[in-house]
């Protein structure tokens, strides 16, 4: 039993009864806008607040009108709150947790006294679409407008410092997906599973059962024991191994070939299925009347949810407005709980009402107003009464008959609209059914089925029968059993009409069609008068159905209003296009977990252990430096250094056709390269633009070993594969060995001495000259040695099987200790190569750079029969390049211009013309001056020592063209 204290703090909580989802033995505490409230485990934020008597949960988007619970099913926007750092949480579906801090959003200064609601005073100046026409001029004030509007409109707040959430995704595969776990969905899932199909059953609620969880199906068409069948249905699902249940999961969309997307909290599901059964039920349609958004105006199904699931009654004196038997069910339901049903306002004549509870309610003294309708909800922040009026013989309201009823809760139960977005996304067709006053599916593509309320079938016995038929058909469609062709659902038109054609009651106050965007019926009329008279245009102009409810609350009413304004039929008016997502989803859920592939070399840990500062290069993590890149560079110049160049692309080409391929893809000659030799080559595309560069070694008669830039490994492999499969692959096999071999560049005047300690191979200059390749055992491991020199010093690139990488690296470091060896990183390598004026493809070249312009004419043999890019290079050779890549030195040797800075030429008036740009620049520790590479006009670049100016921080700083390498221009140190 509830104590007096309980009653004091949760005045709207009912006495315990069966079917509740809350645990009354435990009480937890949470806050809403700083005020502490109590709840029971199982409560939602909204149910707990309603139990405590809180009616205003939010403020509306545009006018900041007070809003309270409307649908209580996670569809409308009326209970959006901020919980911690998470904005736009639906309080009616989010379970409350101990210590939870809930705040109202988009209010100032407080929820109950929101001064921003004064915007209503200017509402006549803010009709629909006003934002397309105002705040445009003067343009310079837009930042102010934007700042102000963002504070007044909008929803919750996302803080920049919010910690990243843990989101992930999962792929699912199945035969049949059933979207919706109400009685129809469960029945269909069981039928399909019993036929042998694998079934995934999704429901957006915490438990299966749909409306059976909170309604007592008492109408004449449903068996009284139906609700008692729910436990049996759930038990059957639990014992069916072919069914996997996902609760709290919304199916967001259907995509081609039955590819579905669903979300459960922070997890996104991508589902491949062969068939889909749409059992998503129906949305209860709100009635449009004056002040229909006042807290205390609720849908019948919402009240039943609160009462039966959470033991909460949102009012003491209830007026029920209805046009179908469902409203009478709600009235009987509430009266059985001891609630004072103040009146039933029935749109129909008395003889049209067939509710079995009519007599009982009347006999109990409940006033019934037949052929009446509500015209206004009375009250300011909450319902204090209802104005009703009689409907005359023409169907119009009679203002003279208006009367007021005292109440604190107005329950509307006017009808339903099927939730068939998924079927329509899949290409299903619909028609307006005059008999039922609902738009229902009439045809669906193969493999798509609609069942239950989603297909317009409301009676429980019909739903269950239909579910059996649909489930069996879906199973047969995917190959389990056979059925006679089932081409469409069977609308249950023999049953009483559930949905009223009347959606709007005229008045003189605000009547909201769209709760998300504060769009009234007057706004709809205005938009149509302005020419937006098709339903699709009306949607876009008014933003109706584009808010958090995604049309669940407003689409059907808008179609009616649009049809009425255009004097057309519902069928002629049509519907808007259904698109994913069916319900709002966080961007985090769509993004999933942060999966950014990172490649590491086999000695990555060694680098970390030795203080390497790592940098990202493509997908690779590489040591940028080990503390002092200038010293590392000098160590290479003076002693010996070791760099991990494992990310270099390493491709093995085998077969008699390789030389011909190399001739075609490189700009220089290859057929004349003897076994044991290495050659540098440049690759161009058809336009003669530099794609990549590297060396290629001739290992034996039919085997070649090509290296590419680190980031070029995969693209060049794929590019070569493309050519091989396009007619150039005869007699060639290509294998990517980038990861099979690790590579270390041992560079410096002492490198030979270091390596000699680890190998029996004769390393003398005569036996192993520059640009040669040799096989050798290094530290007892078979390796490939390439004598090349990107750094400009005597150097050996040691390529070893990757699993031996740490062994080789440590052996080289140990062997080099007596010679002062030190590891060096990418930054030191960049300094060293710049001193040699070696280019880096992608840094010194771009998508317009050809090798003739990039100072690599020596590597282009235009007298070859043919190669990729040759026609373009022939033309450039004839016409002459427009820019040239050339070295430069700064006049002030201490000034290092940033890479990318513009090279400018001032005219007589001081106006600047951009003539080039800097691609590489460093302070050379060897030369003790600033050097670099840049693009310049040919007439300037061709003059060694010619002056030009670089704009640095607005100042013009002088530099001079420098031909040849800055360091060892004759390459003597490479060949020593």
């Amino acid at each position: 039993m509830r104590t007096e204290h309980d009653i004091l703090i949760t005045p709207n909580r009912l006495h315990p009864k069966g079917g509740e989802v809350i645990d009354r033995t435990t009480t937890i505490r949470f806050t809403f806008d700083g005020v502490e409230y109590t709840a029971h485990p199982g409560d939602t934020v909204a149910s707990a607040l309603t139990a405590a008597g809180v009616q205003v949960l939010s403020r509306s988007f545009k006018y900041h009108r007070p809003r309270g619970l409307l649908c209580c099913s996670g569809h409308c926007p009326n209970c959006l709150v901020q919980i911690g750092d998470e904005p736009n949480v639906r309080a009616c579906t989010r379970p409350v947790e101990a210590g939870m801090e809930v705040r109202a959003q988009n209010v100032w200064p407080s929820l109950n006294r929101d001064l921003l609601s004064l915007t209503q005073l200017g509402s006549r100046f803010m009709p629909v679409g006003f934002y397309y026409k105002t705040f445009i001029r003067p343009q310079k004030l837009w930042p102010l407008y934007e700042h102000t509007l963002r504070h007044i409109a909008g929803l919750g707040e996302v803080h920049i410092d919010t910690p990243l959430g843990e989101f992930d995704k999962q792929y699912l595969h199945t035969d049949v997906v059933v979207a919706g776990g109400g009685p129809a969905g469960i029945g269909a899932a069981l039928a399909a599973a019993e036929a042998g199909a694998q079934v995934l059953l999704f429901d957006e609620n915490p438990t299966l059962g749909g409306h059976l969880r909170f309604t007592v199906p008492m109408d004449s068409s449903s068996p009284p024991e139906a609700s008692k069948n729910l436990p049996e249905l759930l038990e059957a699902v639990n014992h069916q191994p072919n069914i996997t249940v996902f609760t709290d999961t919304s199916v967001l969309g259907w995509y081609q070939d039955h590819w579905l997307c669903a979300v459960k909290g922070t997890r996104l599901f991508k589902i491949r299925t062969k068939s889909v059964i749409v059992a998503t039920g129906a949305y209860e349609v709100p009635l449009i009347f004056d002040n229909n958004d006042l807290p205390g105006v609720m849908l019948g199904s919402a009240v039943q949810r609160l009462v039966h699931l959470f033991g909460v009654l949102p009012g003491k004196q209830v007026v029920i407005v209805t046009a179908n038997e469902d409203g009478w069910d709600v009235a009987a339901d509430l009266q059985s709980l001891g609630v004072n049903v103040g009146a039933i306002v029935e749109e129909r004549e008395s003889n049209a009402c067939s509710s079995p509870y009519r007599d009982g309610l009347i006999n109990a003294g409940v006033p019934v107003f037949y052929r009446h309708i509500i015209v206004e909800a009375l009250g300011s922040n909450a319902v204090r009464g209802a104005k009703i009026t009689r409907i005359d013989e023409h169907g119009e309201i009679s203002p003279k008959t208006t009367q007021s009823l005292h109440c604190d809760l107005i329950v509307t139960s006017m009808g339903w609209t099927p939730a068939t977005e998924l079927a329509y996304m899949a290409g299903g067709k619909s028609e307006y059914n005059e008999e039922r006053a609902e738009i229902i599916p009439v045809s669906t593509p193969p493999g798509i089925y609609v069942v239950g309320r989603a297909s317009g079938t409301h009676a429980l016995d019909s739903q269950i029968a239909e579910a059996q038929q649909i489930g069996t058909a879906a199973a047969a469609f995917v190959g389990f059993g056979e059925v006679d062709g089932l081409t469409a659902h069977s609308p249950d038109i023999s049953k009483p009409r559930r949905t009223s054609e009347r959606v709007c009651v005229p008045g003189n106050k605000k009547r909201f069609v769209c709760y998300c965007e504060d769009v009234t019926d007057e706004d709809v009329q205005t938009a149509i008068a302005e020419g937006y008279d098709s339903i699709e245009l009306l949607k876009r102009y008014s933003t109706i159905s584009m808010g958090p409810c995604q049309g669940a609350m407003c689409s059907m009413n808008t179609i009616h209003l649009c049809a009425h304004a255009n004097s057309s039929t519902i069928q002629e008016t049509g519907t808007t296009t259904a698109r994913p997502p069916t319900t709002p989803v966080t961007l985090g859920a769509l993004a999933g977990q942060n999966m950014e592939p990172v490649q590491t070399t086999p000695i990555h840990q060694w680098h970390l252990d030795h203080g390497a500062d790592m940098m990202v290069a493509g997908f690779w993590l590489r040591p940028n430096h080990y503390g002092d890149p200038a010293s590392e560079a000098m160590g290479v110049r003076e002693r010996a250094g070791l760099i991990d160049v494992s990310p270099l692309g390493k491709l093995q080409l085998t077969g008699p056709g390789v030389p011909e391929l190399l001739e075609r893809i490189y700009t220089n000659q290859w057929k004349n390269l003897p076994v044991g030799r290495v050659r540098y080559g440049v690759m161009c595309n058809d336009e003669g633009v530099v794609l990549n560069d590297g060396v290629c070694a001739h290992l034996n008669d039919e085997t070649w070993y090509m290296t590419t830039t680190s980031t070029g490994a995969t693209p060049i492999f794929e590019w070569l594969q493309w050519w091989l499969q396009s007619g150039w692959g005869e007699g060639i096999h290509l294998t990517d060995l980038t990861d099979a071999y690790s590579a270390f560049n041992l560079a410096g005047p002492q490198s030979r001495a270091v390596l000699e300690k680890l190998t029996d191979r004769n390393l003398t200059n005569k036996a192993f000259p520059y640009m040669r390749v040799r096989s050798a055992k290094v530290a007892d491991v078979p390796c490939r040695l390439l004598r090349i020199g990107f750094t400009g010093e005597l150097s050996y690139e040691v390529h070893c099987p990757s699993a031996y990488a740490l062994h080789i690296w440590e052996a080289l470091m140990d062997a080099g200790r007596e010679f002062g060896i030190a590891p060096f990183g990418v930054e030191a390598q960049r300094i060293l190569r710049l001193e040699k004026a070696h280019i880096i493809v992608g840094q010194d070249t771009d998508a317009m750079s050809d090798p003739l312009s990039a100072n690599m004419a020596w590597a282009v043999k235009l007298d070859k029969p043919d190669f990729l890019g040759k026609p373009s290079l022939m033309r450039i050779s004839t016409e002459g390049p427009k820019q040239l890549l050339v070295g430069f030195k700064m006049v002030d040797s201490d000034v290092v211009p940033d890479e990318g800075l513009q090279i400018v030429e001032p005219d007589a008036d001081g106006r600047l013309t951009i003539t080039g740009w800097v691609t590489s620049s460093r302070f050379s520790p060897t030369l003790a001056e600033a050097i670099g590479l840049c693009w310049l006009p040919p007439e300037l670049a061709s003059q060694d020592g010619a002056p030009f100016t670089i704009r640095i921080d607005g100042n013009l700083v002088e530099a001079r063209v420098h031909h040849d390498a800055f360091y060892d221009p004759d390459g003597e140190r490479l060949r020593m």
Binding site: H173, Q593, G655, H733, K757, S802, A803, Y804, A815
Partner: protein, 228 residues
Amino acid sequence: MSTSKTPIKLTPLHSITQRLGVTFTEEQGWRIPEVYTTEEDEITAARERVVLADETPNGKLLLEGDHAESVLMDALDLDPLQVNEGRDGIYCLRNDLFFITTPPGREVRAQKKLTTVSAASEQFVTVTEVTHGRAEIRVIGPASQELLSKVCGLDFHPAAFPNETAKQSSLAKTTQLIIRRDIGELPAFSIIGTQSLGVYVWDTLIEAGREFGVVPIGRAALAELIKG
């Protein structure tokens, strides 16, 4: 000229396993994790939940050429690549490209045999050893399919992905060869991809498998599981 140290082969996951305080063993020149916690706990985890095992040392060969299949058949006739502990396998990746796995160390003999047969056939068929270039992570246990479904779009149900079949797919945004190699009744999948991505793939699988209680297991537990 050599170093005093004996060359030892390390898998790309060596640094991870080392940090976990694992005891190591050596097999065919590879240093591999023997036990992470206790053999019994690791076996229990594999049978009840899901585990990861580093099987990078398994030999890996690529056989390429229009006549690769005939060379392969000839080689099998000469000296069948015996199935040993479920680690041998031949997988057709393309009509002219086969991926061959062997127990650690056996790849040398297999490569030699295939090269000999290829040469004798006078067909243009190449045999390339790629053991060092590929990381191999085996995901074992009843939750293995669910774990992999979080990082890969393939259908891992036995009906769609039967035992001893291989598929190439994107896994956690990387290209991987996935081979189903059940251990008795236990579903198991070998994830084979470039070794430089090995640490990333391992970390991603550990992260994705946290909700299933994923743990790494060593060679001892794996051997016991295979033994049955």
